[in-house]
Amino acid sequence: MSSIAESRRPVIARTIESPRMRRSQRRHAIAVVVLSAAGILLAGGLAVAGHPPGLAELAIFLVFFTIAGLGISVGYHRMFTHQSFKAKTPVRVALAIMGSMAMQGTLKFWVALHRRHHEHSDAPGDPHSPYVLEDGTPLRAGFAGFWHSYMAWSFGHEVPNSAFYARDLMRDRLISRVNDLYFVWVAAGLALPALAGGWIHGSWIGALQGLAWGGLIRIYAGHNMIWSITSLTHIFGRRDFATRDRSTNNGWLALFTLGESWHNNHHAFPTAAVLRFRWYQFDPSGLFVAALEKTGLAWDVGRPGKHALDAKLNSN
């Protein structure tokens, strides 16, 4: 029972007006761009100085891209944001850490922003729609819309209130601790590939290669993985299902996005942990969840049944 009269009950806002938080978000977006550019310059400089990337760099890049990518796709997105499956605590912690390494923001921030995106997809309030700004201003079709939904949005979006959108995570003490150690995980995501490169080559140059390819460029590639979803899979591609938004499926992006490009599937069934609704829809993240399930590390895996799928099919 509340001790405060109903008319004076505190209202928890969806977004907060905080210049400080906005500045913090903008600084983070700038940091991502700066680190990405630094990675490209470092790799380029090393190449020019007689150390072009080789198989080791490719391997380090792929390993860390996959680790961070699964952290975002399986962890941040499917498990934490949409609660599409349950998992044992060590798996939850691991996925939260892996996702943090992608440097796309803390878990709570990412979850809050993404839940807000689903609440307002392609309508006023959507932080990254190609069709409309968050404040409702329509965007011209073509490059302006693409650019906003691809990357520009990350510099100036509203501050989503995690106390509104991510309350379930607030109550999880352990995950909250992991959340708050965000910069430790980001740093680890740079240090580990550097160590790997240094160890493989047995040299400082090798460590720099690892840092450039497995750390910095990998962060940039991971951002592009998500930015291609926020933009391309709301513009081009097939709409198998009728949804309130303009989400689409794009098979050609499936490998790069670890299965997230079945985006129309996702908006139609946000609690589906596996996005392969048709036999040919390659979904690496879904395969990872299925593997966790097989080993007893995950359960209650969301898979919409045939009736549910048929009911939502697009008639056009």
């Binding site: 928890i12 907060i16 921030f109």
Partner: protein, 92 residues
């Protein structure tokens, strides 16, 4: 020494945080640090924004970090309420 004003602010904060955490206000520990509730920096700022609106005062963005428990924050705001009112009067 707890004044009625401090009590009111404490109760209001316990109510708000109880609502966020979906637990009864009585169970919210008023001497625990905000980050122990799992409030990240955004949530903490949202609490101070809502509180400022409720009290009709502009609160410094840092107040929630300088007084990081319900008790300390309420105490500070109750103590500085007179000064804040005087400042507001002077501006009218």
């Amino acid at each position: 020494m707890s004044t009625q004003q401090q009590q009111d602010i404490e109760n209001w904060l316990a109510d708000l945080i109880g609502e966020i955490l979906e637990m009864p206000p009585q169970e919210v520990d008023r001497t625990a640090r905000f980050d122990r509730y799992g409030l990240d920096s955004v949530a903490a700022v949202s609490v101070s924004v809502a509180l400022g609106e409720h009290l009709g005062r502009e609160l410094d963005a840092t107040v929630i970090y300088d007084y990081p428990t319900i008790r300390k924050l309420s105490q500070h705001l109750a103590e500085t309420a007179k000064a804040a009112e005087a400042a507001a009067e002077a501006q009218r």
